[in-house]
Symmetry: C2
Subunit: 395 residues, 2 copies
Amino acid sequence: MKFEFQNPTKIIFGAGVLARLGEVVRSHGKRALLVTGGGSVKRNGVFDRAAASLKDAGVSVVECSGIEPNPRITSVVRGAEIARKESCEVVIALGGGSTMDASKVIAAAVLYGGDPWDMIGHGQDNWAIPTRALPVITVPTLAATGSEMNSGAVIGSEDLKVKSFVMADCLFPKVALVDPELTLSVPRDQTAFGVCDLITHVTEGYFNGIDGTPIQDRFAEGVILTAMEWGPKAVADGSNLEARTQVQWAALVALNGWVQVGTAFSPPVHMIEHALSAHHDITHGAGLAVVNPAWMRFAVKARPDRFAQFAQRVFGLSTTAKDNLGLALEGIDKFEDFLRSLGCPTHLSELGIADELFSRYAEDAVLVVRDENGNLPGRPPMSKADIVEVLRSAL
Amino acid sequence: MKFEFQNPTKIIFGAGVLARLGEVVRSHGKRALLVTGGGSVKRNGVFDRAAASLKDAGVSVVECSGIEPNPRITSVVRGAEIARKESCEVVIALGGGSTMDASKVIAAAVLYGGDPWDMIGHGQDNWAIPTRALPVITVPTLAATGSEMNSGAVIGSEDLKVKSFVMADCLFPKVALVDPELTLSVPRDQTAFGVCDLITHVTEGYFNGIDGTPIQDRFAEGVILTAMEWGPKAVADGSNLEARTQVQWAALVALNGWVQVGTAFSPPVHMIEHALSAHHDITHGAGLAVVNPAWMRFAVKARPDRFAQFAQRVFGLSTTAKDNLGLALEGIDKFEDFLRSLGCPTHLSELGIADELFSRYAEDAVLVVRDENGNLPGRPPMSKADIVEVLRSAL
């Protein structure tokens, strides 16, 4: 293990902490851009509560609503124009992963003279990774992406049918104000997709990281076991605040770096899924539910011991009378069973995706992150043919 | 769960990173106070390597050596005087927990006009918790206290025979430069005590935190399981760099807040041990090895299910044909067996401590942290009589 790590975001966590939004924002600025998604926060009253807290604290607010579920660079451009015109000093993300990701890039785009798409890696020669941004306060309304406490953002281009990412220290939110009550009204399917999303964040590091990371392994297993214990309860009864709390905390921890630190992992499942959602506008977590088990069955042969460990520690499967590969495959079956039990799709056909564009998805998956052979990094690295094979197995 | 959390310290981790000390320090100042302990870093060449790196980076160095194993406020006063007189801009802690703790308080004392003992909680009316400090860079040479990446420091008064603590945001080190190679020469007994220390950090939160923290439970178990896997290897063969690396990482994670976050725990075992080491100058980790199992047998009745979980998940003990209390007690026996197998003492007699001062230790243990009834907080809260009972059981 050899690495550097820092995550300066302050967490304020717990049911009811939304009431502190104004006070928190006020310490970063008096004029805020309040970024929201499709309108659920207005329908369920969260927006009004946030607005009241901001008003009480003396923060004036300019709105940027309508961030898409797979956020587009056009929305970033629009948000940055509003923030610049209105002299906003701080950006508030009130929504799910797409709203938070868009907010981060808006916060950087406000201070960037060029086209914000320059900041998103898409195979360009000069990736303008941002070095400064307005302060961002995240207020997640969905337990899924973990974007509330990390430096990453995923943004797509509708024109190019490309969905890609940026990571930069300046994009760490100043504060993640995490109130599980805000997730009580999340529909059953989105709750399930969120659970799948958070689990996939840790499986990427668990299966694609370096050897010799025993604590990180245990932490990843801990997140998965907790998500498997509490996720179904949140899906079964959305009003269960305890379940919502545990799932929300699991989602934050799953991608704030504490689990994967030092593993130097690559996320092949995410790269493949981004290609799918760029073309089909599916929910990221649903796409991951399809790609991850298929990828696991492809990757298991490269690392049967690691998959056997997963089968043993996560599903309590026994080593007796089985070789590691058999045990590993049984663990993958159990994992897919779990996803299905949550209500997640595990086949492309369930997402309405057929095989016409498989080679395009494979091209897109290696657009930004590829090794010296042009392969998608991971364990094992994947050629474009491998990617197509995995997708075909998921039909 | 309802909490706030932030840990801004940057980690630079890995064998060989000591060579980067100069570069790291230089970004925080040109003139450094270099704080060290009893001289092992001079004998094993680490000091010279650190000094060379600092010189190459253009950092001038003033030394403050001789920090005691249980660091004293007199050393803090001395260090702060040197730093002030020599206009140091940054403090480097090159040593174990005592050196790091002293360095943090020195860094605050430099900017404090009063007696530095005001900053250490010892029952005073006005606890002068520091609000500013020089930047601190920690370079641990021992895997134990986790002080390299947290905001706490434990300092004692030789005159008063009191050992107590301070926690303050300004004491978070800017960078924890963690090079497991520096621990290769740590003697076998100190290695074992370090393993006990780190495990005790997570057992405190695990047994004394609130209910309903499943991820934190899993993280704690993960740290313990890793320490139990790799600790004995580091004790058996101090030159095993892989074992040193895993133990070092476990020690850092065990008290940087990632495990206990949100558990709102109190650390009764530490409070009792501090009373012992204030009077007897024993190694903290050795004192914990004595107090922790004795405390567990006292506390088990208050929370048998939690201790049964510990027995199951950490030691793989089975629930069949036993009640939870029986299972729990078996787990505690196994834990004590593990400590003994490492070479740790588990009786006060092994530390040369008899019962003469038991009531004084009990007084000291509640000097700073006590509930409205004057008891030591924890699960369960402990009266002074309880503390004496636990100590008596450890004779």
